[in-house]
């Protein structure tokens, strides 16, 4: 069977590990090992990236929409009215990986701005800010989950 793109990356990794690594001088082994690890972790990422980004975009959009409902009711509107435009843009981007990644990045930027605003509005320990604090917790929980998804795509820390 002819290997697909991911299979070709695996072949390349095996070739570097078994044929090239034993033959290179010691000064190059560290970088070559890094290259092999980079290849392997990238292959894992690519294998899961499209559905991951798709799910995360959907989740972030839902989170930001909820934030918009809550925060627009406050004296300081925080979630921009650009959200609906961004939402449309993301839907168009869902057709392929690279445009989906661009939409995901824009959503993350929007999420960062919203999260900073939320943190300022919902300081810890203020009981009267319960609804904002609950929303803040949701942001952290969602983003923690997104980070957790990527932990297997790195090799620096235990996975």
């Amino acid at each position: 069977m002819i290997p697909n793109g991911l299979g070709a990356l695996a072949l390349l990794s095996q070739y570097l590990t078994h044929q090239v690594l034993p033959a290179v001088p010691p000064a190059l082994t560290t970088e070559l090992r890094a290259a092999i690890k980079l290849l392997d972790s990238t292959r894992e990422e690519l294998d899961a990236l499209y559905p991951t980004l798709l799910e995360e975009c959907s989740e972030l959009l839902g989170l930001l929409e909820d934030a918009g409902v809550l925060l627009n009711a406050r004296p300081t509107p925080l979630v921009s009215t650009h959200l609906s435009a961004l939402s449309r843009q993301c839907e168009q981007g869902f057709k392929n990986l690279s445009t989906l990644a661009v939409c995901h990045r824009e959503l993350c930027e929007f999420t960062a701005a919203s999260l900073l605003a939320l943190q300022q509005l919902a300081p810890e320990g203020h009981a009267e800010q319960r609804d904002l604090q609950a929303l803040l917790q949701r942001f952290y929980a969602v983003l923690a989950r997104h980070a957790e998804t990527r932990v297997p795509w790195q090799v620096v820390f235990p996975r």
């Binding site: 970088e31 930027e109 960062a112 983003l143 980070a147 790195q154």
Partner: protein
């Protein structure tokens, strides 16, 4: 090795011979020159110096010099001066030899210091497994860390600038600047959120001491004399010693000080006993958040690709991919603040 690398290495050996013979006042020969792996801000070379035929023992040195893709903005002259002071104080450091900031032979600032014979503690732990008394070594290193923090500030006054009461924010600004240069937080909500939290919750330092800034097993050399020599002082500064402790707590595999040699609580207890300081959990929590942002800054700074700059090192690319681990931790830590669950 490529021809260009061979030429560069030969030139380096020639220049080292020239420098060392000037300093020693005798002709020397450089042998066993080889580049050591690792390093985020400097490249490191190991070499031996032969003085003449009658001299049986070669002199062992290490050359550290800046390279173009350094992710950490450190000053070799400060590090050199600090090593000299610490060496004179009897602290376990490699003895510095010479520092050349503007020597055209080397192109970039460099420093030479004695090469400590021994093994990187991380590698030693990995190789020896449980065949060593890990708790005893862990307690000894906690004592060593406390001893660094207790060095009188007047001994360091000429080397490290004194820090003001707002030194925490100064320290934070340094790392957030690196994070931003690396494109870090704009599209990474948790890094942005953590920076904001750190800015808003910075504690006023209640004591000031020498912070090594990277006190962990791969910067400790277990020397032939069965003592640990502390390397890599490029991030050293004066500040809150709890910052140093929190950085050490960040590394928790079986080959690290914490959880590798001692469980976290025992390491903290050993440090507290040695330093005589009661650790404030909130202060420690702050610096543990800080440690993750600092490491994220180092990762981002190293992994950025400048269109007109030198190519990205693969090792730095690998480090950059580890950001989600730090982000996951930060999410959990920040969430604990919202529900008032912080220590």
């Amino acid at each position: 090795m490529t021809e260009a690398a061979l030429v560069a290495e030969t030139a380096l050996a020639t220049n080292l011979a020239s420098l060392v013979s000037e300093q020693l006042g005798t002709a020397v020969q450089i042998v066993n020159l080889r580049r050591l792996t690792g390093g985020s801000s400097h490249e490191t070379w190991s070499f031996d110096v032969l003085r003449d035929q009658r001299s049986a023992q070669p002199l062992r040195y290490v050359l550290r010099r800046e390279f173009a893709r350094s992710s950490i903005n450190s000053r070799l002259d400060v590090e050199f001066a600090l090593l000299r002071v610490l060496s004179e104080l009897g602290q376990p450091v490699a003895r510095p030899a010479w520092c050349a900031l503007n020597d055209v032979r080397f192109g970039t600032p460099c420093m030479l210091m004695e090469r400590v014979t021994g093994v990187d503690l991380r590698k030693y732990l990995a190789a020896r497994g449980s065949a060593i008394d890990r708790p005893a070594l862990g307690r000894a290193l906690a004592r060593q860390q406390a001893a660094l923090h207790a060095i009188p500030l007047q001994a360091l006054a000429e080397v490290l600038p004194p820090r003001a009461a707002h030194s925490t924010l100064q320290e934070l600004a340094q790392w957030t600047a690196l994070l931003e240069r690396g494109g870090g937080s704009k599209s990474r909500p948790l890094l942005a959120a953590a920076q904001q939290w750190l800015q808003a919750n910075a504690p006023v330092p209640d004591r000031c001491g020498l912070v090594h800034g990277d006190f962990k097993t791969n910067n400790l050399i277990l020397s032939d004399a069965e003592r640990c020599v502390i390397l890599d002082w490029e991030m050293a500064h004066l500040g809150d010693p709890v910052e140093d402790l929190a950085w050490t707590l960040l590394w928790t595999t079986r080959d690290d000080l914490v959880e590798g040699l001692l469980p976290r609580a025992e390491y903290l207890a050993a440090y507290a006993q040695a330093s005589g300081v009661t650790l404030d959990p909130q202060r420690l929590f702050y610096w543990e958040v800080f440690a993750r942002v600092k490491l994220a800054a180092i990762f981002c700074g190293g992994a950025q690709v400048a269109a007109d700059g030198p190519p990205l090192r693969l090792f730095d690319a690998l480090l950059g991919r580890a950001l989600p681990v730090l982000e996951r931790d930060l999410a959990q830590m920040l969430a604990s603040c919202v529900i008032g669950n912080r220590p």
